[in-house]
């Protein structure tokens, strides 16, 4: 009795335009309630929508990034329903003919394999306002600042078969929309919202009834909610019951999903083309312009890192998953730093320090330029890799530039061969029994000698040279 899970995701991505999709009110987050809702947003009698060109361009950027069909003539339609945070009593959305059609995106699974997930469509629509239920006992308070903010609704094919795959897909889209600079991806602020359509079936059966999960604002919760829902559905079906098609809210505190009342009660949306808007026509020139303006996409970048820079697929995946990280990394190697060494530093020390201190890479106290200098000092043998880690810590705490710290702390590597030779000669002459043991075959003792050299030089001797000279003198 093995159950298969079928998951499709609907992602609402708030587009980072300055003004709303159909009006000139601001979309800036955090304003005092209802100060960014103009007459058009409030649905006063007689107001009319006019389409924001940036929203169209952003939708096209997305479409081109997922190799989607672009519908050169798309239509805005009204989705009619009553809710207090929907001022006009309808949401302007796209129904039969969305601006972006079928596309694809590939995701990396945990086992390292790739999977292709289909994107059914992506369409433009306006966001609703916010309903606040706990401000008053007898009232629900409505803030319409958010009403009219442009959304790109990205609908996936039901191609995912586990919560982990769904999360991988969501993360990929999350990274992509930030990469192409159409969304700030801030899930806490609600600029990136995932709804999951989940159903189960026995292998070979047709698709089961699905439930829609809403109110999920983190990837962690997405995984939990989906797994909970799969369990719930399987339990129902195994007891002979049937799954109801409904919308369920995820409660992260109680870690459960519950059915949503009234809002989704048998809603007949009565879609029809919005007569206040005309067909959106996209020219070939516009598409070409947008294509040219797209940055190198994560998939292409990853390939380049592997092919041209010789990085492993795993490393390339990590370095390209977030645009800011990729940009940081590329600044370093574009200055000429060694790719592998740079990758290790970015993914290692830097990443650890950022995580530990809960800092985003954009706010890193060590800039990419400074890290470049540090890496260069390793490559040019000024300091060893081990010492570099100490320097890194001091840089992080704001103790000056790489060179300043090396100078002040006297951390310069000893590379003077003659000086090293004389120190090594001293150590050899003071440790004759170990020398004899080494020459007799105890090759592990090399470490002892290296240790002695390091002690004598306070760690500043260049390990490679030390090894070389020791091997010469002890042979």
């Amino acid at each position: 009795m093995t159950w298969e899970t079928v998951i499709g995701l609907e992602i609402h991505s708030q587009l980072k335009t300055k003004s709303k999709i159909f009006s000139g009110a601001s979309t800036a987050f955090g304003a005092k309630a209802n100060t960014q809702a103009c007459a058009v947003d409030l649905g006063y009698p007689g107001v009319l929508p006019v389409l924001n060109q940036e929203a169209v361009k952003m939708a096209l950027r997305f479409g081109l990034s997922v190799n989607a069909t672009i519908n050169k003539h798309s239509i805005f339609a009204r989705k009619n329903y009553f809710y207090p945070d929907l001022p006009k009593g309808y949401q302007i959305s796209q129904f039969e003919i969305p601006i972006v059609g079928n596309g694809v995106i590939d995701i990396s699974l945990e086992n390292g394999e790739n999977k292709i997930v289909g994107i059914t469509r992506a369409h433009l629509e306006e966001d609703a306002g916010k309903s606040i239920h706990d401000m008053y006992d007898e009232y629900t308070a409505i803030d319409l600042n958010r009403a009219g903010t442009p959304l790109l609704e990205i609908v996936s094919e039901p191609d995912m078969s586990s919560a982990k795959e769904a999360v991988a897909y969501a993360k990929k889209i999350h990274a992509l929309v930030q990469y192409i600079d159409i969304c700030d991806g801030n899930m806490q602020e609600g600029s990136f919202r995932c709804d999951a359509n989940v159903s189960v079936r026995k292998h070979g059966d047709k698709l089961g009834t699905r439930a829609e999960l809403k109110n999920i604002n983190s990837f962690k919760f997405l995984e939990k909610a989906i797994n909970l829902e799969v369990e719930r559905q399987i339990d129902i079906l195994e007891e002979g019951g049937s799954v109801v098609q409904e919308t369920r809210l995820y409660d992260s505190i109680k870690n459960e999903t519950r059915s949503m009342r009234s809002k989704e009660e048998a809603n007949d949306y009565r879609y029809f083309p919005d007569p206040d808007l005309l067909p959106v026509v996209v020219s070939d020139e516009l598409l070409l312009d947008i294509k040219k303006s797209l940055p190198e996409l994560p998939t292409e970048k990853k390939l380049r890192f592997v092919d041209k820079l010789g990085l492993s697929a795993y490393d390339a995946e990590i370095l390209t998953s977030q645009k800011e990280v990729a940009d940081y990394f590329e600044t370093i190697i574009n200055k000429g730093a060694d790719a592998k060494l740079s990758a290790n530093w970015v993914m290692g020390e830097l990443s650890a320090a950022l995580n530990k201190n809960q800092v985003e890479i954009n706010n890193s106290p060590i800039s990419s330029n400074e890290l470049f200098v540090l890496i260069s000092r390793i490559t040019d043998n000024t300091i060893s890799g081990k010492i570099a880690k100490d320097v890194f810590k001091l840089m992080w705490e704001g103790n000056g530039s790489v060179d300043e710290i090396i100078e002040k702390q006297g951390l310069k590597q000893m590379t003077d061969s003659s000086a090293l030779e004389s120190i090594i000669d001293d150590i050899i002459s003071n440790n004759l029994s170990q020398v004899k043991q080494f020459k007799d075959g105890n090759s592990k003792l090399l470490g002892f000698f290296v240790g002695q050299v390091m002690k004598a030089t306070q760690g500043k001797a260049n390990p490679k040279q030390v090894n070389q000279i020791l091997n010469e003198k002890l042979s």
Binding site: G43, P45, G46, L48, V50, N80, F82, P84, R270, D276
Partner: protein, 480 residues
């Protein structure tokens, strides 16, 4: 008497200091006060006086716009900032608009004088002005009769000379039909000619504003001020505005006039037909050529319109929910109660009927059979006109099957709808149409309809004006 002057004459009078805008305005305000036609919902006397004084000071400086100081009546469907805008409905009885419609703004910027907001069928739904929350409007020619609708207040005001002109809106005939029933000149321009921003929407793809005046010349003067592209209205056409007064006097010799045979069948009152045919004869005498044309799909205009319009309006009127403005029921128990009672108490019967029809026609399973089918029929109707306009320059016919009927005499909604037969096609095709006074039947005015191709307002006004040069119907008045 000042009120018997046309706008063209009043403009001259103001320029020549024969009278001031203040005198003109006060004259009209007095007449409005003494009128019992119920043509106005709000009379903005204080503001009008102030506007007139302002206009006079600008006129004195000599740098006035063409319409500075001219008074007008504004249909209560246009938002006017700081002033009650009711759309003839209890739903908006308390609504003081926080913004100006583009049209209101345009007229204000010429320093015109707004006398008040005129009565209308609620949310522009009706053909008799009997559907207003503020009571019916009376026809100045016979106060037991309807003035037509939905711009009944505007038509009655102009006909009874209590305003030199009025703004109207036309979705299925709401300028042309009341113009016909009240004996004045009404023009619905091409869809997209005048901005819809701030004009409370009934059926978005059909609604269009237009001037209601006594003469075609006045209509041209006003159209100059009303027309133009508006960036706030996505359906506004970015087409330049010619000077509509320039070619009014061109000769009509050789003008090809099409008479649709479908417009002259049974159902058309004999008296009305006679007036229309006499007018056609007058055109022939002016050198026009009369050609029979056919608009075979025009009979389907009624079902097509009475699906498209209700569908669009059912959605347009969803915003009236008692939440952000307008009527809210007392002590709503919960959200649904708020919606149900605010809307049921706020809307009149005809509005509720059309909302229900629209909601039904758009609902799951019916969209294809109704809305989509109606839009296909719309295409056919539009094509009929395209074919006709290959043969003729202007199409003419009656506006309404009868002259004005008794108040309260038509109770059945469907009968009311059927009377729109001659005007609906024009809106469905987005074409410009006019009604001009053409005579009387049983002492009641009868209008002649002129329909032109897209953007042919100049030709229509010219055609109308020349008729008014050889006939006197437009000068007839029900009052002194």
């Amino acid at each position: 008497m000042m009120h018997n002057l046309t706008i063209a004459e009043q403009i001259k009078g103001l320029k020549n200091r024969d009278f001031s805008s203040l005198e003109l305005t006060q004259h009209y305000l007095n007449r409005i006060d003494n009128s019992n036609l119920n043509a106005f919902i709000s009379v903005t006397s204080d503001q009008a006086i102030n506007q007139a004084k302002m206009a006079d000071s600008i006129l004195a400086k000599g740098n006035a716009a063409s319409l500075t100081g001219i008074p007008y009546a504004h249909k209560d469907i246009f938002c006017t900032k700081g002033i009650k805008t009711s759309a003839g409905s209890k739903m908006l009885d308390s609504f003081i608009s926080p913004y100006d419609a583009t049209l209101s703004d345009k007229l204000n910027s010429q320093n015109m004088v707004m006398l008040g907001k005129t009565n209308m069928d609620e949310f522009a739904m009706g053909s008799s002005n009997e559907n207003s929350y503020y009571g019916p409007v009376k026809n100045p020619w016979d106060t037991k009769k309807v003035p037509g609708g939905s711009s009944g207040g505007s038509a009655a005001a102009v006909a009874s000379r209590i305003s030199p002109f009025a703004t109207g809106t036309d979705t299925g005939g709401s300028i042309r039909q009341p113009a016909s029933l009240c004996g004045i000149t009404g023009l619905k321009p091409t869809y997209g000619r005048i901005s819809r921003y701030g004009m409370i929407a009934y059926a978005s793809s059909l609604d269009q504003a237009g001037p209601m005046t006594r003469t075609a010349e006045d209509s041209a003067i006003i159209l100059n001020a009303m027309a133009g592209f508006d960036s706030k209205d996505s359906t506004s056409a970015n087409i330049s505005v010619p000077d509509y007064t320039q070619n009014l006097s061109k000769s009509l010799k050789g003008l090809k006039i099409g008479l649709p045979k479908e417009y002259f069948s049974e159902g058309l009152d004999k008296g009305v037909e006679k007036v229309v045919m006499n007018a056609i004869n007058d055109y022939e005498a002016m050198g026009a050529k009369i050609i029979e044309v056919s608009l075979p799909n025009s009979i389907h205009a009624i079902p097509a319109y009475y699906i498209v319009a209700p569908c669009e309006c059912s959605s347009n009127l969803s915003r009236f929910d008692g939440v952000r403005y307008g009527y809210r029921c007392g002590d709503p128990k919960d959200l649904n109660d708020l919606y149900l009672r605010s809307r049921s108490e706020g809307f009149g019967d005809e509005v509720k009927r059309r909302i229900m029809i629209g909601a039904y026609a758009l609902s799951a399973g019916y969209y294809d059979a109704y809305y989509l089918k109606a839009q296909k029929v719309r295409q056919l109707i539009s094509e009929d006109f395209k074919v006709a306009f290959k043969e003729v320059d202007v199409v003419m016919g009656p506006v309404s099957p009868t002259a004005a009927f008794d108040l309260g005499s038509v109770k059945d909604p469907v009968s009311m709808y059927l009377a729109d037969i001659y005007t609906l096609s024009v809106n469905l095709a987005g074409l410009p149409g006019m009604s001009i006074p053409a005579g009387f039947s049983d002492n009641l005015p009868v209008g002649l309809q002129l329909i032109g191709n897209h953007w042919s307002e100049e030709l229509l006004l010219n055609t109308a004006h020349q008729f008014q040069m050889v006939t006197d119907w437009h000068n007839a008045s029900p009052v002194e």
